[in-house]
Structures are given as C-alpha cells and as structure tokens.
C-alpha cells in the first residue's frame, strides 16, 4: 500500500492542476470569481499553516495581516503606485508586524496565545474602521486598479484568475522549499518539543519569531491579491469571523484541511470557500450542515481531511507488529 502512495499523490496533484487550468472554460464568470477567491484565501491559509501547522503557534490574527496587505495595495495603487511595489511592501510590512506579534508567543502558548492574537486582530480591525484619514473607515476604498502584466490586462476575469493561480503556485513552491529546508525541520522541532530543541542548539526564539513573521508576510501577499481581485476594501472582511476571510475561517481552513500537511490549506479553503456556495440551495440550513460536518470531522479525525486520507491510505496499521519486529532485530544485533 505504502509504495503506491507517492505516485498516487502525484497523479492526484496533476489532476487537480489540470482541472484548475481548464476551470475557466467550465464555469460561468461567478464560478471563476469563486475559484479566484479560493486561490487568494489558500495563500492566506498557507501562511497560517506555516505558523500554526508547522511551528505550532496558534494565531487568530491572520485576517489582520490579510487586511494590512489589502489596505497597503488599495491605498497605494489608488494613489498611483504600481501594484508590484505595493505587493512587495505588503509582504515586508506584514513580516515586520508579524515579528513583533511573535514576542508574546515566546511567553504564552496555546489558548493564551490565541487570546493575545485575537486581541491583536480586533485592534487592527478598529484601526481599519476608525482611522478614516487613512482607510476611509466603513466607506472603504473602491476602484482599486488591476495591474497588467506584459501588456495583458487583468481586467478580464480569466486573465485575473490565471494571474492569481500563478501567484498561488509560486508562493506554495517557495513555502515548500522553506519547509523542506533545515528551517522547516527546526519549525517542527519547535512545535513538537521546544525544550529538547533548545538543548540541541535550536534557537527556538528566533525560529518562533520567524514562523510568525513569514506566516504574516504570506498573509500580506494574500491581502494584496485580494484587493486586486475584489477592487473594493472595507474593514468587515478582516474581522474575526463571519466572512470567509475572517481569522476564524482561516483557522478553520488550516485545521479542517489538515494542520501541518502541506496541502491542508488547499483542501481547507475548498471547504471554507466553495462548500458554502454549493450548499447555497439549502439556504439558511447550510450553516447547520456545515457546522455538523466540521464537528464530525474534528471528533473522528482531529488531524483534518488530509489526516483522514493519510490514515486510509496507510491502511489499518497494526502498531504491535510494526513496533515489535524492529525491536527484536535490534535485540539480536545487541547480542
């Protein structure tokens, strides 16, 4: 069973990619828009998965970083700056703010850290809403221009969709390289056993801050793309919950998809962004169905959808034999 896992995973991945490439031909404009939202929210969830899934730091502030990125791009592009400048700036500003937010994580963990980050998200939400001179308050910033790349205007929804898809692919590739590097190993070590990691020379302080900062930076990129996609920014989407872009929803994406699995956020974003659309026929009941699904998943498989797949494909493990047989051989060697 195990030997088939890798080729099967690669095949599934290629199939998904092929689907994403032909999708604009299959859907109406609204469907393409929803897929575009999916791509943008996946980027945000990838950032959170780095902080939460790999480095084990609970954050309820990811939407705030998406908001910072979105406002940077919205304000600057409407004031004549080119998109790319604002895109890079969104990353670095969020990186810096994320770094600072990481400091509480050096002192508190788990639920307490969730509260600290929650407070931070609320704080930034209030800034977005009340600092009218900068953000235009509840009226928001509208008419955000879309960039053009090599003469291709992003005003066409298909072009825009492919533009976002390319960003998603590039950002996930960069994240993949990051978690495959020794840094990724150090992140996992910080998550699994910070005290032991520290005793092995792993500077847990620096890696924790890095995990926060990079996760936030990716959130900023996502926000920047979000501004370009929806062309109108107001404070509401960057609050805690209620919208697919809220912090709780982003947390849900990571956890439902499979926290600490590379493709978890992709799947989680499908559940959080696409499922409500498909369940629209159920009207008011869809939230109930959705809630029951999520509760069920968390009860039976706390490691998320990919954790479930993982369990199915590795078959029913017989832990006794798997652990004992090597032990026996080791004992033989020792003799």
């Amino acid at each position: 069973m195990r030997a088939f896992r890798k080729p099967a995973a690669i095949l599934a991945l290629l199939a998904c990619l092929a689907f994403l490439l032909v999708a604009p031909q299959l859907f109406k404009p609204y469907g393409v828009f929803i897929l575009s939202i999916w791509a943008v929210m996946t980027v945000a969830a990838i950032g959170l998965n780095l902080t939460l899934g790999y480095a084990g730091q609970v954050s309820l502030a990811q939407a705030a970083f998406v908001g910072v990125g979105a406002y940077i791009t919205a304000w600057m592009t409407t004031h004549g700056w080119p998109f790319w400048t604002t895109y890079v700036l969104a990353f670095f500003v969020c990186f810096a703010v994320g770094w600072v937010l990481g400091y509480p994580a050096l002192r508190v963990q788990h639920h307490y850290l969730a509260f600290v980050t929650l407070a931070f998200n609320t704080l930034l939400y209030l800034v977005f809403r009340n600092e009218e001179w900068l953000t235009n308050g509840i009226y928001g910033i509208s008419n955000i221009p879309r960039p053009s790349v090599l003469g291709w205007s992003m005003n066409h929804p298909h072009n825009l969709y492919y533009f976002l898809l390319v960003h998603l692919v590039l950002i996930s590739a960069a994240t993949w390289l990051l978690i495959q590097s020794p840094w990724g190993r150090a992140f996992v070590a910080v998550r699994e056993n910070p005290i032991r990691a520290l005793s092995l020379g792993v500077d847990t302080r620096r890696y924790t801050l890095m995990a926060f900062a990079i996760g936030a930076g990716i959130g900023g990129l996502s926000g920047s793309l979000y501004a370009v996609l929806v062309q109108f920014i107001d404070p509401t989407p960057f609050a805690l919950g209620a919208t697919p872009t809220g912090s709780l929803s982003l947390l849900l994406m990571v956890v439902v998809g499979g926290s600490g699995y590379f493709f978890g956020p992709f799947l989680g974003a499908v559940v959080a962004v696409l499922l409500p659309e498909w369940l629209r026929f159920a009207q008011g009941y869809y939230l109930m169905a959705y809630a029951i699904f999520v509760i069920g998943l968390m009860v039976y498989c706390p490691t998320g959808l990919l954790g479930l797949l993982d369990r199915m494909f590795s078959g029913k493990k017989k832990p006794s034999t798997e652990i004992e047989s090597p032990a026996k051989t080791a004992a033989e060697v020792a003799r």
Binding site: W183, R185, I323, A331
Partner: protein, 247 residues
C-alpha cells in the same frame, strides 16, 4: 588531566527550600563522571542549573575557563555541551535520520545557509555513521514514534552526540530500559568514551549501571555533595551508605 568543566558553589533555592546547596566539582577530560543520590537529592536541579535551563541562585559554571553560568541552553549547546533528559525526548514525527540531522544542523553555517543550503545541511553522512554506531541502521527511515522505548532511548543518546560535543550530560539514561537494551546502551557509551574520547556526566539510579560505567562518582544527598571518588571507594563510604539506607 585537563578540566573540561568546573562547577563552583552552585546553590539553588525555590522559596524556602534549598534544592542544591553549595555543590562544587570538576569534570575532567575523558572521564565518565557519575552523579548519584537518593530521590530528591537535587541531581536534576543541579543539571538544570549547569545547563542554563534554570538560573542558579548563586555559584558559577566554567567551561574550559569560560564562564557559562545562565547562558541560554542553545548557546551552551553550540559551545559543545549537550544533554539528554530524564524523560525521553525525541521528535516523534521526524524519522530517525531527521532527528539526528536536526541535532547537528544548528552547529553548521548561518541561518541563511540553513535556509538556502542543502536540505540535510550536509549531515546525512554523519547521521548515517551515528545510526550505524548506535545499531539503528534498519530503522533509519522510520518515524521516531514507531520505535520501541529502548530504541528511542538509544536515539536520544545518539542525538546528544551528533554535533561532536566536548561534554555530554546524561540524565538517567538507563531509566525504563530493559536488560538487553541496557547492555547495548552501556556498551555504546563506553565505546564513545574510549574510541572518541567523549567526556560524560551521568545521573543514574541504577547502581550496577553506574558502577560498571563510571570512572569517578560524586554523591549528593539533600542537595549537598557528601562524597566523591572512584566507584569502589564511594561504595564503601559510610556517609553514602547512610544516605541510601537511612539510619
């Protein structure tokens, strides 16, 4: 014989309780120093003070002449002091080889090199050697969570050696390990000592293990150092007998 580490008048107080009371000793190059004592005699607290996990109330630790009291454990580790913990501490979601690479990666190059350099930080060869040395070859690509307790204990010890430390502090390496594995562990530690000249400090309850492994022993009781010497002498010391057996 050269002194690797000097522990000078370490004292640790928790409120009104004195857990470690004015303990001093030297660790000499190439020796296996045992620290023994009844439960609650302050062995682990002493370890934690030496290793920067706890800040001692007073006293100093010097590593080859350099004062290292209270520096962060990761920095102390980079200076060549590594440790194992009383309770088993491996990274269950990483494979055996990755556990070992992790244990070495922070000792090589810069943060930037670790980000953009090779995935294994050039340590696969070293990790494989360590895997061979600790006879874990058939398990190299297994997740650590799939290993038996004794094998994880071996891995735990192997990780402490991965970066080629000058001094290794082992906190109850034999705890909970079955007899076969115990022999294998003792055998490996001895080999590390004679073949590679590694210096050890070992906290242990298992008397047989200590007597067979250690070249010198210090004895703690109620936070104080009550005896010091080679295993045979210490065993006969009336103070030690009293501490272990009571009046």
């Amino acid at each position: 014989m050269k002194t690797v580490m000097e522990v000078r008048n370490i004292r640790k107080q928790f409120g009104g309780i004195v857990a470690v009371d004015d303990v001093s000793f030297d660790v000499r190059e190439g020796e296996i120093l045992g620290i023994i004592g009844p439960n609650g005699s302050g062995k682990s607290t002493l370890f934690n003070c030496i290793l920067g996990q706890l800040q001692p109330t007073s006293g100093d630790v010097h590593l080859e002449g350099r004062k290292v009291t209270g520096i962060r454990p990761c920095d102390l580790n980079k200076l060549g002091v590594s440790r194992t913990f009383q309770l088993l501490q491996v990274f269950p979601q990483l494979t055996v080889r990755e556990n070992l690479i992790l244990a070495g990666q922070e000792h090589k190059g810069t943060m930037m090199r670790r980000l953009f350099g090779p995935r294994d930080a050039g340590l696969t060869g070293g990790a494989n050697k360590m895997i061979e040395f600790f006879r874990l070859g058939h398990l190299a690509d297994e997740k650590a969570s799939g290993l038996s307790y004794g094998q994880q204990k071996l891995l735990d010890a192997a990780m402490a050696f991965m970066a080629g430390p000058r001094l290794v502090l082992l906190d109850e390496p034999a705890g909970g390990v079955n007899l076969t594995m115990l022999q294998s562990l003792r055998d490996r530690l001895k080999a590390m000592n004679t073949e590679q000249g590694a210096t050890f400090v070992v906290i242990e309850h298992n008397m047989e293990f200590v007597m067979a492994l250690c070249t010198r022993i210090v004895v703690l009781a109620e936070g104080r150092l009550i005896a010091e010497g080679d295993p045979a002498t210490v065993r006969k010391n009336p103070k030690v007998i009293e501490a272990y057996l009571g009046h």
